[in-house]
């Protein structure tokens, strides 16, 4: 990884995985992965289906604990910390299949995303603080192109709109580290172009880790690529190096013609 002299290379590491692994019964989903991501970096994680990318995301976000290894986030060992603690430290994520609150409106969904990292989850009365949270929620809805859909129930949104909201949910709490799991899944060509532009326009201080099958999106947004196969990291490099890599072609790009 010495070839890439990007600004991210010199910044502080904010995520450090050491020898991380996860078994589900007899299945080894992720094994012995070391990964360092620096502040402000744009990282893509690629690999064929079943390579362990989403499991790796779940280990980083704290959805479940690793079987082996440690997770260090913002300089703190969070291996044993639950997902909510990591979220409140400034990590946000999206899900491969949208996990939205279908029985609530677009605005309420974003409102909960802002409320989550703040205090007062248990308040039985509304206060002035909720007004500010709702302002943030509405501004984000505008940002992701759902400004005119605020009161619509999320279960009524189209697939494309749900994916937009999924990204909005991750952005609205102003995280330091944002992890997007296949944000382009199921989007039309035009929607992917919009998504790519949104990702390129993100605040450069926000660190981004992206799982993406769409090479046009992934290799345009990322400045450094980690390639996974069978639960292990097999290659790391710049997008150009990844495009040229024989192993990558054989394993992944080649399989899709």
């Amino acid at each position: 990884m010495a070839t890439a002299a990007t600004s991210a290379e010199r910044a502080e590491p904010i995520l450090h995985l050491r020898g991380i692994g996860r078994r589900f019964g007899g299945v080894v989903a992720v094994s012995d992965v070391d990964l360092t991501v620096r502040a402000g970096e744009r990282r893509a994680i690629l690999g064929p289906n079943g390579a362990g990318k989403t499991t790796l995301f779940n280990l980083i976000s704290g959805e479940y604990p690793p079987s082996t290894g440690t997770v260090e986030l913002f300089g703190r060992d969070v291996t044993a910390a639950p997902a909510r603690t990591r979220a409140r430290m400034g990590l946000s994520r999206t899900f491969q299949t949208s996990r939205l609150f279908g029985g609530l409106s677009v605005e309420d969904n974003l409102y909960l995303a802002v409320l989550g990292v703040g205090d007062g989850h248990l308040r039985l009365v509304k206060t002035g603080a909720d007004g500010e949270l709702r302002d943030k929620a509405r501004a984000m809805a505008e940002d992701v192109g759902l400004g005119d859909r605020l009161d619509v129930m999320v279960s009524e949104l189209s697939h494309g709109e749900q994916r937009q909201l999924e990204v909005g949910m991750a952005r609205v709490a102003q995280p330091k580290l944002m992890m997007l799991d296949e944000p382009a899944a199921g989007l039309s060509r035009a929607e992917r172009v919009t998504l790519t532009e949104t990702l390129l326009a993100l605040d450069p201080s926000v660190t981004l880790i992206l799982i993406e099958h769409d090479m046009d999106v992934a290799l345009r947004v990322a400045e450094w690529v980690t390639m996974m196969h069978d639960g292990r990291v097999i290659v790391e490099g710049t997008p150009a190096e990844i495009r040229a890599n024989e192993t990558v072609h054989a394993l992944y790009l080649g399989s899709h013609g």
Binding site: E63, D108, L112, S155, G186
Partner: protein
């Protein structure tokens, strides 16, 4: 657009409450007591179940157990025939009964909150059965044949002679419970509760403590159930283990399902339907040879229940919405986001 669980029709609510306030002028004392008052407190009990189900996605069978604890505590703390007869003031006893039942609810919640679906249902069923057997066996508290004629607050007078004061008291409580739960559903606590109903994993990823939230929602529902438990003793003028048994647990569930598990209003719609059927189905049951007759009025209850469940998963309230065309796609469980499988072909 589908009417969400969070919307209220204020004019409709006003009309219903105004009609309810005039009811004692129109109906007989019998009807006001045995149908209307009973519907109102049964509705409060069912509302505690529907609140957990509609907003939290938790169908609890513990509500009768919790209201049993409240009812028994009240009956034992005031002057009564049987039980401890501690001779407290009825109001102090009311508060104490609610506090005890909420504490028991919190304890139950801590145990049940980590489980979901059928396991949550079974654990909460076990709570109700446990409360029933406790009071059945500890006759120092439940008397032989129940605790009878407890001292009531002067506010409700003598319900046996004039049902109006108890009726109005119960009506005010029911309206407050409805409005209170409606308000909470739009407050941070209630919105987060709906979030964890739809996607608990997302809620964790957003920074919420899902288990703690479930426990406290269960405790809030226990508070509502406790209120219903005290009202039930005021209404019946007695409480016995038989009034908090498995049959009563099932009746409250039936009321909630008939009314509609997805909307709070369903609690009282279901309770009224239940009270009417329970009281009049004996007269309405036709005699068909040896097969059907007045003594088989439970058959009518069962058939009506089946028809409603088959016609409308959202109960009578859901049916009403569908008839009025309010729910574009018809009623049903909220929160089902259309999912598409992750397209493996996206890499082209």
């Amino acid at each position: 657009m589908t009417a969400s669980v969070g919307r209220t029709s204020w004019p409709a609510l006003g009309v219903v409450v105004a009609a309810a306030a005039l009811a004692p002028l129109v109906f007989t004392d019998f009807f006001v007591s045995v149908i209307l008052t009973k519907s109102l407190w049964l509705g409060v009990a069912a509302a505690s179940l529907i609140f957990l189900s509609a907003y939290g996605g938790m169908v609890s069978l513990a509500q009768v157990g919790i209201y049993g604890v409240a009812g028994m505590t009240f009956a034992n703390l005031v002057v009564a025939d049987g039980g401890a007869a501690a001779a407290w003031s009825p109001w102090i006893a009311t508060i104490a009964a609610i506090v005890v039942a909420v504490a028991v609810g919190l304890f139950f919640g801590v145990i049940a909150a980590r489980s979901v679906g059928i396991y949550f249902l079974m654990i909460t069923l076990a709570f109700s059965v446990l409360v029933y057997y406790f009071f059945s066996q500890v006759t120092q508290l439940s008397g032989f044949g129940g605790v009878n004629n407890p001292d009531l607050p002067s506010l409700v007078g003598q319900p046996g002679q004039d049902p109006a004061p108890l009726y109005y008291t119960t009506l005010v409580v029911a309206v407050l419970v409805f409005l209170g739960l409606r308000y909470v559903s739009r407050a941070p606590f209630g919105l987060a509760l709906q979030g964890l109903r739809d996607e608990p994993a997302r809620m964790r990823a957003l920074g919420f403590n899902v288990t703690r939230h479930r426990i406290l929602a269960f405790t809030l529902a226990a508070f509502i159930a406790a209120v219903a438990g005290v009202l039930s003793v005021w209404y019946n003028g007695r409480i016995a283990p038989g009034s908090i048994n498995l049959a009563q647990t099932i009746d409250i569930l039936i009321i909630a399902v008939i009314g509609g598990l997805y909307r709070l209003e369903g609690a009282w719609v279901g309770a009224l339907t239940y009270a009417l059927l329970d009281n009049y189905s004996r007269e309405w049951t036709p005699t068909v040879g040896d097969v059907l007759g007045a003594e088989r009025f439970n058959t009518i209850l069962g058939v009506v229940f089946l028809i409603i469940v088959l016609l409308s998963p959202g109960g009578l309230v859901g049916l009403w919405e569908r008839v009025r065309g309010l729910g574009g796609r018809g009623p049903g469980p909220p929160g089902e986001v259309a999912r598409e499988p992750a397209p493996a072909e996206a890499a082209k």
